[in-house]
Symmetry: C2
Subunit: 445 residues, 2 copies
């Protein structure tokens, strides 16, 4: 009896046979954010997230579930405090930017020099900046397509190098965010050639507005700043890969996914557990339907936030394989409102079919080329056709890269609409007769 | 020439002659929150706030501007971190409650036992609680009249004593708040007779929801907690008083105001710079108009947050003076939507006049007795007639006692409506022929 019953019991309890959860997308976000939480790239938390991912993807029945590890330099946050010493003593809330340099352990005290924009900082004579703490208060506004991030985000990406080269002791920026909460927005910045690392941090939006008001009184403003982040050396990260096998190995792979790592302040619900959940739930629907012509390869990329290390590692490992098409979800959990496709034949039957199918979900064709995201960027640059399903970004930068990026920010109805749109798009591109001819290689952007 | 011109120049620059700012209410909130910032009771920051207050009230032309100092015990925040050790390692965001005990410097580690409400904690056998960290996740909901605070706030006010008496090592509560941000809500709690102080803190709402989810997985949950607040001894606080002198010294004083101190996390814009601004701007309109029959006494009370020390000190110093009526603004900066009056003759001409005048601002009569607030509570208990101009509290507990209590939360249009309603009410009660007969003394509430 025992030898007969046990295998049956094991079979019945095998989660690969369990019905998919009715609300798989939300359950993935809930599980990853609750059972792992923050998962900074290259840390043990991200390793736990990979283990969680492998277990979950296998239990969902995906094929070829595996981790492809890679190494990367790891930066970690330390202490971070700021205090106005004069003229109006008070503490300010801030967060170091990725790759920020450190103050001495005891901190540094210096006068603040403020600028309304990165351009104003660039135009300032070095003598105005040297030996001071630079503060740039450029205000970002919310946009549905997220386009304001490119322009206003430049203060974060290159402001620290500009300030350093002018001899600043440190730089504080107004958070690249559109909320009004005391939760600063971190994010990566990289030192340009010749720029010495200096302490670089974002003040929360209310704190930046406060410092701007304090400066407006016209008295010298002195700040005591403590920031002790550090580089911890080279550590392992990895991409987690799972597949829905196709019927035609020669038809090329459809590469989709989001990123598994998050910043360390929140639990990465909208950035990017949501993207992982949307692409995984959509792929699961294909897995549960008729076998597609093309293999769908789902990647939960590692180490996107500090600079796209996972996407680079994927491209190095896989760029000789035939990729039919790629798409990425890394813009939150809200609804898809528009799509763009960059295809060799932009006016062909595939575009018409996508327009028709996506229109059923309220998703209209958008203007301009599709770009993908950081993770699939290297494959897009190599000429892989790409589709962007654009999600509503109106509230994305309220939350992005803050401690507020938590499960409660997920709107289940919108998440499910995005999964519906993704599923429909995937079914079309996995089976289309369009040859999905590669495009000419692109410049990086 | 010099001897003639200088006094004229001094006169022209005298701020007491300057026209009142067009938007005095907002300017007071902006000034106090920017130039002082947080102003925890009994600290040097609150002393700076008093100096700021005296300067501002004198420059506005009020009479008898003075500080009435008093002493009080002072509690200050220390380090505060919490980390889930098992089963899902992650940090949680929290803030110590007023008068919280401290953990050892290195913290304490213990298993968590969760309860859905204060009543459930009370009903639990001591053995379930002893040696553990108690967590109560009772959810507060938003109400326009703020009435949910009384019921749900009991977890904060008395939960720590209940947990301590049952042998808990510490207590964590879900913030008494209605937002979804990583900004915990602090607030005072007092140890009941026989309760040994233990560490007591509020998790932010998303962190409390997270801990509730972690507990729901059914595995033992262990937390490492560091809280190092301390009592710093007896220090000075004070009430700042200013008056609009009346024509009839025998008609009694109309006592109004709000509180100058704030919690230490935000800059106290809605709690209670707004209340100070509303009552001051309204009193300034009376000052600038025809001389009132009754003296209006404006008090910026000290040390309300840790337990109404300013209100108690005021009552001790002034309760032999004749008080005709009192009213307080300590419920944010949003619009007045309702009023209640507790008068000896509730159906007299004064009630009819108030109803008529306030109706012009969209303010209707509400049900029940008026209670005033903490600062004027002792005078209300002694039988002083009282009017409540009830402000909209729908979003008040999103912000209350958090780092998010900052200037950007002030809605100028609503603040000005409140000032209009207060000005109208003050003009009526300052000049009314109603004798404003005292009421019988009340029980404390």
């Amino acid at each position: 009896m025992r030898s007969l019953l046990l295998p049956i019991a094991a079979l019945l309890s095998s989660s690969s046979l369990a019905a998919p959860p009715a609300d798989l997308g939300y359950e993935l976000v809930e599980g990853l954010t609750t059972e792992v939480g923050q998962r900074l790239a290259g840390t043990e938390a991200e390793a736990r997230a990979r283990a969680w991912a492998v277990s979950r993807l296998r239990s969902l029945g995906f094929a070829n579930v595996r981790i492809e590890p890679f190494d990367m330099p790891v930066w970690v946050r330390g202490a971070e405090t700021a205090e106005v010493i004069a003229p109006f003593p008070q503490k300010l809330v801030l967060a170091a930017l990725g790759n920020s340099g450190a103050t001495p352990e005891a901190g540094l005290t210096a006068e603040v020099v403020g600028f309304p924009s990165l351009d104003a900082l660039k135009a300032a004579p070095d003598a105005r900046v040297r030996g001071k703490i630079v503060f740039v208060w450029h205000r970002m506004t919310a946009t549905q397509d997220g386009s304001s991030y490119g322009y206003f985000g430049a203060v974060r990406r290159s402001g620290p190098s500009v300030a350093s080269k002018k001899g600043a002791l440190a730089i504080l920026i107004r958070s690249i965010g559109t909320d009004h909460h005391r939760v600063p927005h971190t994010g990566v910045q990289t030192w340009s050639d010749g720029a010495q690392p200096i302490p670089a941090a974002a003040l929360s939006v209310p704190d930046a507005d406060q410092l701007e008001r304090i400066l407006s009184r016209g008295k010298p403003v002195t700040i005591h700043l403590v920031l002790t982040p550090r580089m911890t050396g080279t550590h392992q990260s990895g991409n987690v890969i799972a597949e829905v096998p196709g019927r035609d190995a020669g038809a090329g792979v459809v590469l989709i996914g989001g990123h598994l790592d998050s910043w360390d302040l929140g639990t990465g619900a909208i950035d990017d557990a949501a993207g992982i959940a949307i692409t995984t739930a959509a792929a699961k629907r294909i897995l549960d339907g008729s076998k597609p012509k093309r293999t769908i390869r789902l990647v939960w990329f590692g180490a996107e936030e500090p600079g796209g290390f996972g996407g680079d590692a994927y491209a190095r490992a896989h760029d000789r394989e035939k990729h039919a098409l790629t798409a990425e979800a890394d813009f939150g959990g809200d609804r898809v409102w528009s799509f763009r496709a960059s295809l060799a034949d932009p006016k062909g039957a595939l575009t018409a079919e996508l327009t028709n199918v996506l229109g059923g979900f309220g998703v209209g064709p958008g203007a301009g080329a599709a770009h993908g995201g950081t993770d699939i960027g290297p494959m897009v640059q190599r000429g892989t056709p790409v589709i962007d399903l654009e999600q509503d970004g109106t509230r994305y930068f309220d939350i992005h890269h803050t401690a507020d990026d938590t499960l409660d920010k997920i709107d289940r109805a919108q998440l499910n609409q995005a999964i519906d749109a993704w599923s429909a798009m995937l079914r079309v591109v996995a089976d289309t007769d369009d040859p999905l001819t590669p495009l000419p290689p692109r410049e990086g952007h």
